[in-house]
Symmetry: C2
Subunit: 548 residues, 2 copies
């Protein structure tokens, strides 16, 4: 089992050093501490385990170190910054693992840009030595890149010439869309195994500046000071701590404090039940900070994030995820309202940001997503976003016989109208009602009130509203869905979930990732005589020369 | 050899009937006239041969019938409109043919929308019987869809449940982005084998209206009249004729009147030399019409379009296409200027539209595109767009020894600043200088003058300017390029050529096509026990259930 939980005390590959406004995040990968046997993590190359630590470090910088304004990302090794994803690991991985690995690493890098844009946590990449492939892609996710001008430090994206694959962790997209490298120079760069250094790296915009080794520390210091000045974070803010989650795995059930996952292996589906708040909402921001990791929105997001990652990486045969909720809709709205009322408070900002990223993680999860909205549920505000992230939503009209609770409802709140944009920069309701602001406004005018199935159906908030005698249709749907091709569904959902506008982020998960997945499936890269398998053997890859 | 040239007299699958403002385009596929042996084109299913005729018919409607305002697209068969792409053909095709087939059919459907948007040629789809898969995707490319309300006529996208592939001819994209079908309803529609009919088809926006069979013709007539009223075309305009091209294929050389293709098989590359105008520019629009198909911009576009399609479909092993031009730059600009001066004239509009589509076809051609700009060339205006479409452009600074001609130049003209948007809706120079209008403006300020290599290099118009002693670098580049993985290059180029904004069209070629290509490569669809191969055998497909 791949575990996404870790702590700095257990890091094998990174050192996180905080000093006032500045943190140093030092990559120093342990060669022998790969996640799987069969490869050594030489030259600061990485596997999923290395990236899980990076993701954890960034999360802790957000919550535990809110006074940090600049993270200096650098290498703990001589002459190499980072050699990118480990090639033997890739060559030995299943297709599914390669794809999942890339998705998680992309989310982590997008998360760095999210931290910079929304939380004022700026990233400064200090490259001495070679930054190759995923190493340079990590740099591309930073706000500022300084490259040592020492005749040997280089940046490169040698994936295509060396391995017959793409710089798929955002590389191709960020080079053109973020750094505005001219497309023909980008082509030249991405087909030059040895990379680019010095003045040319600056002229082509691959890095922001260079500095000779003698002045490198001073240049980094200077750039860090300038970046810090652009941060909205406040010096000296005290953070909260993120202790390990109370997770229990027993048989086919995974239980957290606020989330329960029940796996039905035979039918290849899992039900994720999210528990709404059971404690009163804090009266002030101070009380929220005092609750810390026990504050429901944060605790729930941590549980759900871990559950989604667990299902993604450890339960590949589970094709359908059903979301259910349980609890008090008004309590969810009250917690949302507290976050909104203190939108400028660092902790509220971080928690809102966590939900934003969590919901995006759900959006790009390659499983059919279904919401079942029944009595006792609390699909309200932030939790209603779970339903709007789904491919299908089923709502019970009226009650099941013998159930005297209030009928099922969706309760909209401010959280549904701006706080949680998808990666296409639209809210989930704007995406649902693409190009129809009137439909969004109609829904918004019903905010704060529990909306019954008929109203939700009329407003277009659910796919189907069934009375209890027809509820068996949901079972029929789930069984039919499980009979379809998993690949076909992955492609279908990746298209239908992201209608309309594209952004750099959607382009990474759409245009770039889909092409990379195609290449990962081709013998020229992944076959026995392909470039990934032949790398380092001294034998050249054998290519089918047909252009497709 | 697959030939893209045809004429209505030779059509096997379509009937084109023109009557005043209206044309009827009747699909009546000959079962036994497939392009390859091994399948029968039952139920108006189609293969590439059927689509070549459709593409030809639309081209003739544009040039030969400029008075037609509305095309009524319908079936010549009882009870079936169109069953989509032929499944046995797909199951029996190589991966490369499937991908090329989809690309061409996508271009044809995009071309219908282009004709509607730019030329006022409106498409009305009259569906009686079933419109399944590619059949409904053809309808989606039309401006208006009328479905018979007879209890049996349906529209459907059953690709996923039946075949484990996507509705990849724009289906997934147009349902959400063009027709604004809600994403969960789109999901329901695309997983419902039997499709949707009648009122629900209207309610879900899959069609515009329904009509009972008794009133069907009247409804079609009525809608045609309304569509005609929106057309900018003028009734009674006389067209020109498009006779067969003077194409000669001898060994590895393909010669047209204005284009010459030389294939170097051993090095897997082809050189396409475009000849600039050799006759004076016509003095008036009337003279242009009198020249008809001999008018250089039209004649040249026809030659080049055929050459590109020929290389795409018949020369799969050729990985690099080098563009060269020969002739007088000012003559090219003069022809461009005539088209611009008569932008409202139907023929100028159609020729400009042809170049727009031709250049887009080049943009999505999965081969490395290179321009070599040397003395005697005429990379000016519309022909300079060829260079800006390329992945790399090499320009000679000065001359080769013994050549006394003027040095190589690029001459910019108005055609480079608006007439030929890419499918991302930016010009090629705007794409080249993404987000930098000042660089575009700097180039524009040099319009009309021959720009030497140094100036082009400074302005960023070429990748590299070499003096003759370094020109061998071009050979080194070409050889290196040929050594790379063809798949890797396809993915790389598909990303780098389209930085920045996406449109419905780029989403079809990016997000949708890349996922479809991935699926076409997966055993669940294309393997021996996959859904495409098992279709119609009575045996169910066997799926690897892992979600990737």
């Amino acid at each position: 089992m791949i575990d996404f939980q870790t702590t700095p005390q257990r890091y094998r590959h990174w050192k996180l050093q905080v000093d006032g406004d500045t943190a140093q995040l030092i990559m120093d990968v342990s060669e022998d501490a790969g996640l799987f046997p069969g490869y050594q993590l030489k030259l600061n190359s990485y596997d999923l385990g290395v990236d899980i630590e990076l993701s954890d470090a960034i999360q802790r910088l957000r919550f535990e170190h809110p006074g940090v304004k600049v993270v200096i990302l650098k290498s703990g090794k001589e002459r190499v910054f980072c050699a990118g994803a480990n090639i033997r690991m890739l060559a030995g991985s299943t297709h599914a693992h390669k794809v999942n690995f890339c998705k998680f690493t992309n989310e982590t890098r997008n998360g760095m840009e999210d931290a910079s844009a929304h939380s004022g946590l700026k990233f400064l990449c200090a490259i001495q030595g070679t930054a190759a492939g995923g190493g340079y892609e990590l740099a591309l996710a930073c706000d500022h890149i300084i490259l040592a001008d020492d005749g040997s430090s280089t940046v490169s994206l040698p994936e295509l010439p060396l391995l017959a694959v793409l710089p798929g962790t955002g590389g191709l997209t960020r080079v053109t869309d973020k750094r505005r490298v001219r497309r023909d120079l980008a082509d030249a760069f991405c087909t030059t195994e040895e990379g680019v250094k010095g003045k040319r790296a600056v002229a082509w915009r691959l890095v922001d500046t260079t500095a000779p080794n003698s002045k490198f520390q001073a240049a980094v210091s200077d750039a860090a000071t300038k970046l810090a000045a652009t941060s909205i974070r406040r010096s000296g803010t005290t953070g909260i701590t993120l202790p390990p989650l109370a997770r229990q795995i027993e048989g086919d059930t995974v239980t957290y404090a606020n989330v329960r996952v029940e796996i039905e292996r035979a039918s290849r589906r899992a039900t994720i039940t999210v528990q709404g708040p059971t404690s009163p909402v804090p009266a002030s921001a101070g009380e929220m900070v005092a609750l810390g990791d026990q504050f429901w929105p944060l605790a729930c997001a941590r549980d759900l994030d871990d559950a989604i990652l667990h299902l993604r990486l450890n339960e590949l045969d589970i094709g359908v995820l059903t979301f259910k909720t349980s609890g008090d809709a008004l309590a969810v709205l009250a917690h949302d309202a507290l976050l909104a009322a203190h939108a400028d408070h660092w902790l509220a900002r971080e928690i809102t940001g966590f939900w934003r990223r969590l919901l995006k993680r759900i959006d790009v999860t390659s499983r059919t997503l279904v919401a079942q909205i029944t009595p006792g549920s609390c699909f309200a505000g932030s939790l209603a976003e779970l339903a709007f992230a789904c491919d299908r939503t089923f709502m019970l009209s009226g009650n099941f016989p013998g159930d005297n609770r209030a009928s099922a409802a969706i309760t909209l709140g401010a959280a549904n109208f701006g706080a949680y944009p998808m990666s296409n920069d639209l809210t989930r309701l704007q995406t649902r009602f693409l190009g129809e602001p009137a439909s969004v406004a109609a829904a918004q005018s019903h905010s704060g009130k529990p909306l019954d199935a008929e109203t939700c159906d009329e407003l277009g908030l659910v796919t189907m509203a069934y009375e209890h005698i027809d509820w068996d249709e949901v079972r029929v749907f789930l069984e039919e869905r499980a009979s379809f091709s998993p690949d076909g569904l992955t492609g279908l959902e990746a298209n239908l979930r992201f209608p309309g506008p594209e952004t750099m982020e959607t382009r990474i998960f759409g245009r770039l990732t889909a092409w990379q997945n195609w290449i990962f499936q081709r013998a020229n890269a992944a076959g026995e005589n392909g470039a990934l398998k032949r790398y380092g053997t001294g034998q050249k890859a054998e290519f089918n020369r047909e252009r497709v």
